[in-house]
Symmetry: C2
Subunit: 499 residues, 2 copies
Amino acid sequence: MQKRINRLIEGQADKKERKKTLQELRLKLLRSQLALSEAAEIPVVIMVTGQVGSGRGETVNLLNKWLENRGMETHAFGPPNDEERARPPMWRYWRSLPPAGRIGIYVNGWYGEAVIDRVQGLIGPAVLETRVEEVREFEKTLAAEGALILKFWYRISRERQAERLHQLESDPVNRWRVNELSWLRHEQFDAIDETAHQVVEATDSAWAPWHVLEGGHPERQTLQTAAIILDRMQDRLRGRREEVESARAPVKCRPARDPQTLEALDLTQTLDKTTYHEELTRWQDRLSQLVRDPVFRRDYAVVAVFEGHDAAGKGGSIHRVTAALDARHYRVISVAAPTDEERAQPWIWRFWRQLPSHGRMTIFDRSWYGRVLVERVEGFAERTDWRRAYGEINHFEQNLLRSNIILAKFWLAIDADEQLARFQARAETPWKAHKLTEEDWRNRERWDDYQAAINDMLRYTDTTAAPWHVIEANDKRFARVKVIKRLCAAIEGAMESGG
Amino acid sequence: MQKRINRLIEGQADKKERKKTLQELRLKLLRSQLALSEAAEIPVVIMVTGQVGSGRGETVNLLNKWLENRGMETHAFGPPNDEERARPPMWRYWRSLPPAGRIGIYVNGWYGEAVIDRVQGLIGPAVLETRVEEVREFEKTLAAEGALILKFWYRISRERQAERLHQLESDPVNRWRVNELSWLRHEQFDAIDETAHQVVEATDSAWAPWHVLEGGHPERQTLQTAAIILDRMQDRLRGRREEVESARAPVKCRPARDPQTLEALDLTQTLDKTTYHEELTRWQDRLSQLVRDPVFRRDYAVVAVFEGHDAAGKGGSIHRVTAALDARHYRVISVAAPTDEERAQPWIWRFWRQLPSHGRMTIFDRSWYGRVLVERVEGFAERTDWRRAYGEINHFEQNLLRSNIILAKFWLAIDADEQLARFQARAETPWKAHKLTEEDWRNRERWDDYQAAINDMLRYTDTTAAPWHVIEANDKRFARVKVIKRLCAAIEGAMESGG
């Protein structure tokens, strides 16, 4: 096919051959799309990017004409709106991802914003580098989770760009595509070209490679694009998959203190009833003040994660936190099995969709750490997948931190004896009996496997910026006060260093 | 149970009896919740409302303590944010609904905003009436779709309110709940009481009844509330369901012209190629101008609906519309089978979630009209359900219209001969063959049933404000130009009358 497309592009084909080749290309593309749709396992991400006038629009139009529209969606992004600005920059791209079996076509996608922000001087080189790193990690996760990623960059010269803009302006159907902004971008040509080149180089990878084509010649570049898409779709249909950088020993993003371990905990700490009530009231009062601080309301958000052994008291601790909050300002997300919309996306997608906007708190009763705990221990996730998750989690959390989302991660630790006592108490308390399931007993048999998984989790995800608060929870009163105290400290710390 | 609760409330029970009754109430409530959760058929909506200091917070806290938190979510709403303001007022409430099997607890919910807006003078009596009507229709749809709706209004006197506010202020744990706004609401007591009373009366129905309780006495009202919730949950578990106002002959909201029928169409109209290209270019140009108008960008949105016989040319018409649009400003939603998240909600929920914000266009390739077309003809929906849908659709569309969402509904009509010719052409065109399925042939056998359903749809949902544009589509060129012309006229008309 590739050879015959080349004949077309080089003008070696006569009209008849041309027609035949085009029809065949179209048909093969469509059949590949339908086969991928049928299998419903692989989402396809097609990134079409280049400078103004490089012919992105025409290419997207042809893809829209040739492919089955009911299995795809085209995305282009303007400046972020309020909801988007209150979240990490990648949030809106996560939200837009095609589910498995569908195609998402992106005009500039997550590349446009970063490049233009840099050229306009809205961000410096360091922030650009961070954005690029976020994009790399994003694409790596998509690819590792099975996505087929195709990225096209249509290069164009400054002269050809001017020519194209004049052409478009004189075409009644397309003249609206050219406006003042287009000519501003023309003036910025060199800066955009240089920045884009940097970004393209830095985000080129085996699993999300750039295809750099000569732009400004819509018909030719569209054919080349279509041929490449066909090629890579067919590869995937034949089971050939780009290798994603293998998960070596998971890399910790920033070294924290010496690793915490469950074994080092002093679980004998307790709090008497009177002190408990005094302290609880004091810290609830403090928390309620902190989250009503105008600076917090405007610029910050909190994501609080509650993990712990079964019966460690997560629910009770969450209650003591929410008692200090206005119902308008928080949500509690109880993490259960993913829905089918969530299963058709990368595993971490369902947590991205729940991020709070400024002034709000989202409390996770169990969280993305399930990936390296229950999914690891029970074998729901492959070894390579859960090993990869440590890095994905750290990057996810960095995205939050960079957007002023304060992270407070609590591990509620009890020992095996205490757990047994609580299981028995649950069994005997009528309104708690339903909380005790077969699964709890099964998990308990795997206590040691869980301890190993927890210690690994602490080793790899206890970062300076997003530390684990390991809470000695054999005594419920002690645990509840410590949780809320640490939560206050986390909010205060973030706001002090941020201001 | 009710009798024993009364003994408690009236102070006739000793400590031991009291404890026993409370434990039993708690346990029965929990078991009902778990049974409803297990069945996963009924969503439960609990509305807790009343003036400041009436004890809503305490009641919600107890429900949160007694019920299984993993099966419920508590919602309270502040002033709408940007995303919400750009949609109909009911949009954010639709988004928050509990799926089947879960409980949503609402503090003031969709009642708070309307009452306070009215008291503040932000809306007049006519708008309040409209809001009340929207709420009635909303609750009616929820109930008809199976939701259990419990609404509590805690009445309190002005004097008791003052007492309660002082009490709360002197309690270190709760003092944050009282602020300047609370005292402002206290000053507005009479106005709020009167407006709320009106709204409560107007929204009381068999399927969403108000339970008016004496407020300001948290413990007592909470027990009464819990007992009522238990009662009504148990009723539903026993299969007893509140009757929802029966769908009589569907009511048309506003009479349009004489009913349009398919039989009256002149399908012989055509357009020659030259005129077609001239006209298409002209109207695409016009459309691209309209949607870039700053007034449109700021205050309006478009929802365009494409329905029609199989092979009527919906996809081709949509292409000619989107060719004139910037990819940043529109989305095409191809309506397929609902996902499981959608199936756990009222049928129309999945369309609510797709509404555009200002300056944008959402194009539906098939739509909510499937309810009264394919679902009716194929028997996927019960007769009472699809008959009820005409009214639900009209109300849904009114919600959109009132928020400056311009509705353009296109029915692309072809006759049976033309359809057959197109089916045959599809079968013979390699890249169209996949569009022709067994289902198309099956639908074709039911041509007459569909004609009847379509004529009913035109009769009941062709309203002055949201008219159907029935497009003669035997000639594709004629149809495409007419669609885009009508779309332009709809946008112009709305903006002229709106300005």
